[in-house]
């Protein structure tokens, strides 16, 4: 008779440095079941959003995640613009697209570095993060910040991209391409990377459909879905680019999809910089009428979905946020089971999970308007829970 042994990864992931708990049930080296426990990072953002002015919400949702920090505000402004039927000035659409694609570049490079680190390729890690740095410098040049750019606003963007900054932006893109060639070569040609990633953590197309998976995770399994093409927003329908799709569904395919998407992002940014017209960057929206709207954005990890309902006051009455990791992380249950423990770390990381995004929502008792728990209580609970688990 075989005995099931539980191998816990978490509650604080030793490599990804984010709070979650994967309980791997193993028989020998083989993973036979997986239990995913989240909730350690639950901050009540959906509820908090109902207490913010429509113009304050982008700052709040920007802080859901420090990596895809423009995807949430972008999806939110799309939702409010859908609700109110707002026409956004052309130049603002291009600026939004440039910012979103630069974010994809830095996010994919970040993942590539981590993935390299997970499988023991620390050189890839150092390289990827080295080449990510100039992208962050461009963000700093445009917005003053490396990570929270605060560019999105209902009806347009907060800051223009100055024409005198465009040559530096183009130069950064030009210098990135040789680095991407380097990564593509390193991944495609290295037999050890192939041995580690090919045939590992496979998600089939059918599994992707059942688990409602999206983004590069779905595209690496042959699902041709990308919000940028399916429901073009920003300036994506004004430039020429391709959706990258692979059929294999393993981690190698997911890596390749992300690397090839980087080239597409560079191409989109270059075209946007060339085509960007002069003019206004803000529609100067005053009031938001009653109604409901849906906004979608293809974040680096997949579709980011926001639903906003308004009753005509200056605050949303309901704001639903669904980040791509919410769907993608759950699919680990099928991707990791059947593999070995040593492959689990990279398999669980292959969807580029973001736990900050997965957990939001509320901790208020509206009946008494009394806080049942504040953030410190939650941290205390989380710490106590960790202590208990240590004790076991």
């Amino acid at each position: 008779m075989s005995h099931k042994i539980v191998v816990p990864i978490g509650p604080y992931h030793p490599l990804q440095e984010e709070p979650e708990l994967f309980r791997l049930y193993v028989e020998g080296e083989k993973v036979v079941d997986l239990d995913i426990v989240i909730g350690y990072n639950h901050r009540g953002i959906e509820e908090l959003s109902e207490h913010k002015h429509f113009d304050q919400v982008p700052f709040l949702v920007e802080r859901i995640c420090g990596i895809c920090s423009t995807s949430h505000p972008f999806a939110y402004v799309n939702a409010v613009e859908d609700l109110a039927g707002i026409q956004v000035p052309e130049r603002a659409l291009y600026i939004r697209t440039i910012i979103a694609e630069m974010e994809r570049i830095h996010s994919h490079l970040l993942w590539l570095g981590l993935a390299g680190h997970f499988i023991g390729y620390n050189t890839v890690w150092m390289w990827a993060w080295k080449y990510r740095e100039p992208v962050l410098n461009v963000f700093e040049m445009i917005s003053g910040n490396r990570n929270h750019y605060a560019m999105m606003k209902v009806g347009g963007v907060r800051r223009d991209i100055k024409n005198e900054d465009i040559p530096a932006l183009k130069k950064a893109m030009d210098e990135l391409v040789p680095a991407l060639d380097l990564f593509r070569g390193a991944v495609v040609d290295d037999p050890v990377i192939q041995a580690r990633l090919k045939g590992i953590g496979i998600l089939t197309k059918e599994q992707c459909v059942d688990w409602c998976v999206e983004g590069p995770t779905a595209r690496a399994s042959g699902l041709n879905i990308d919000v940028r093409k399916d429901e073009p927003y920003g300036a994506y329908d004004r430039v020429d680019w391709n959706v990258i799709v692979h059929e294999d569904g393993d981690i190698f395919a997911k890596t390749l999809v992300r690397i090839l998407e980087l080239y597409e992002s560079v191409s989109i940014i270059r075209q946007c910089l060339d085509k960007m017209p002069c003019g206004e960057i803000d529609a100067n929206v005053k009031d938001i009428p009653p109604g409901e709207g849906i906004g979608r954005v293809e974040a680096p990890r997949g579709e980011c979905f926001h639903y906003v309902r308004s009753d005509g006051t200056n605050r949303p009455t309901r704001h639903k946020v669904r980040a791509p990791s919410y769907m993608n992380v759950a699919s680990n249950k099928v991707a990791a089971v059947g593999g070995t423990i040593s492959d689990a770390a990279i398999t669980l990381a292959a969807v580029d999970p973001c736990y900050c995004c997965t957990e939001r929502t509320a901790v208020l008792d509206r009946g008494t308007d009394k806080k049942i728990m504040n953030g410190w209580d939650l941290i205390r609970l989380s710490q106590e829970k960790t202590e208990r688990m240590r004790g076991k």
């Binding site: 409901e292 639903y307 829970k385």
Partner: protein, 143 residues
């Protein structure tokens, strides 16, 4: 896409309580809570729509769930709305047996709004701490 809407309307003509085409890409249908699984099954299995997420909310009249589906081939969002007026013992059939990807969001709505999903295979807490008091639902406007 027009075909898809017509197919949906044709198949469930007697059951659609209200249909709104807010814009070219946004369609909302109201259904009785009891009809949701059949419509979800038709959208997901036959029309090949992708389940995006469900939004649960507390309104003065009822608890409301909106199931958002994306028809990726046409870029349209089809949202199914169901009202649950009984706030004391709110329940609705789970769609997780049809779409496994709905497991987490039904758990989340269950713990945050207190809606019981009948037939859910794994209805336990997702985000709230183990110590969270029973019967307190953070997204309820009044408890």
């Amino acid at each position: 896409m027009e075909n898809i809407l017509q197919e949906l309307k044709g198949r469930f003509a007697a059951k659609v309580l209200k249909a709104q085409e807010r814009s070219a890409r946004r369609v909302y249908f109201d259904f009785a809570a009891a009809d949701i699984p059949a419509v979800v099954k038709f959208l997901f299995r036959d029309l090949k729509c992708r389940f995006v997420i469900a939004t649960g909310m507390d309104t003065p009249e009822a608890l409301e769930i909106i199931y958002h589906f994306s028809h990726d081939a046409s870029g349209k969002m089809i949202s199914l709305r169901a009202f649950i007026p009984d706030k004391k013992n709110p329940e609705i059939d789970s769609i997780t047996p049809i779409i496994i990807g709905a497991e987490w969001i039904e758990r989340e709505i269950w713990e945050l709004l207190g809606i019981n999903f009948k037939g859910h295979p794994n209805l336990k807490r997702l985000l709230l701490a183990d110590e969270w008091p029973e019967g307190k639902y953070p997204l309820r406007k009044s408890s």
